[in-house]
């Protein structure tokens, strides 16, 4: 995968599969420490210790059709390649938290890519009733997108209506652009 936002899309689908109702994605650039942190938190079914221990293996998967699962091993490899760390915490029936750390100037770090498009794919691809929050930070600047706020305005109109999705894509693009410009 050649964009960080594609990894985010792929990993967040695990949260959806875990039955999460609330998913929070935090992207934080800290220019001073040269750190890029991405956190994906959910309130899904979580994993027990046994599964957590082998979840970074490419031969661990919960699906029945094949014996491989590459999402987590690929991101772990990328974190380590970029002088960062990969952390995963999980509690059964409480949720899972992925913390990805990268050195943001590392030559092997892919660009963030199209984060708004990732959100459109996430919102379009998930059943109604899952709430997403994006917190995008760079230094002191922050942009927050919360599907709950959008839903309040829409009053019953589905989030996966094409016009709404296109609005969301533009809205997030503009929010991110502003944060990047100011900082």
């Amino acid at each position: 995968m050649n964009e960080l936002s594609l990894y985010i899309l792929d990993l967040t689908q695990n949260s959806v599969t875990a039955g999460a109702k609330n998913i929070r994605i935090t992207v934080e650039f800290d220019p001073e420490s040269d750190n890029l942190t991405i956190i994906i938190e959910d309130d899904g079914c979580g994993m027990d210790e046994a599964l957590l221990e082998r979840v970074t293996s490419p031969f661990t998967t919960t699906r029945k059709t094949r014996k491989v699962g590459l999402g987590i091993p690929m991101i772990k490899q990328l974190c380590e390649m970029c002088e960062g760390t990969f952390q995963i915490e999980s509690t059964v029936n409480v949720g899972t938290k992925l913390k990805l750390l990268f050195r943001s100037s590392h030559v092997d770090l892919p660009p963030m890519g199209d984060l708004p498009e990732t959100f459109v794919a996430l919102i379009n691809g998930t059943p109604e009733g899952i709430e997403f929050v994006l917190e995008y930070r760079k230094g002191q600047e922050v942009f927050i997108f919360d599907t709950r706020e959008i839903r309040q305005v829409l009053e019953g109109v589905m989030l996966n209506t094409p016009d709404v999705l296109m609005w969301i894509r533009e809205y997030i693009s503009e929010g991110i652009r502003e944060v990047n410009q100011v900082s």
């Binding site: 899309l9 699906r63 059709t65 691809g125 305005v153 019953g156 016009d163 709404v164 809205y171």
Partner: protein, 121 residues
């Protein structure tokens, strides 16, 4: 700038169309969006289909997503089902193909044979 007021307008417009959407027969455009699909470029493909469906205001079309179909080498894969017709599977789909597939197949009912799995195999 996109504002919440724009969203309110979308709401009004959509509500006035809700009944139309329910009454017409459904066409499904399903994009494979597992790790393999994403890595092969499925996300911009799905967004391109959404754009086309939105632009043309096709109220009877749903753009949906699915997991790995089991033919990872052919990703991005897009399946289209229309009432009364066999499912058509498009393989190695690029965002540029979306406009043609929507106009020829979804709107006019003629699958684009050269993009299908039959042509690829």
């Amino acid at each position: 700038m996109k504002s919440i007021a724009d969203l309110e307008k979308i709401r009004q417009k959509t509500l006035s169309q809700v009944n139309l959407r329910r009454e017409s027969e459904g066409i499904r455009v399903v994009v494979g969006m597992a790790t393999c699909g994403i890595a092969a470029g499925a996300r911009p493909v799905m967004n391109a289909f959404l754009d086309e469906v939105g632009k043309r205001n096709l109220l009877n079309v749903v753009v949906a997503q699915t997991g790995c179909i089991g033919m990872c080498r052919y990703e991005p894969i897009v399946e289209i089902t229309m009432p009364g017709q066999d499912k058509v599977t498009y393989v190695k789909v690029k965002p540029e193909m979306a406009a043609r597939i929507v106009s020829e197949h979804v709107v006019n009912g003629q699958p684009v044979a050269e993009y299908t799995i039959g042509a690829a195999e």
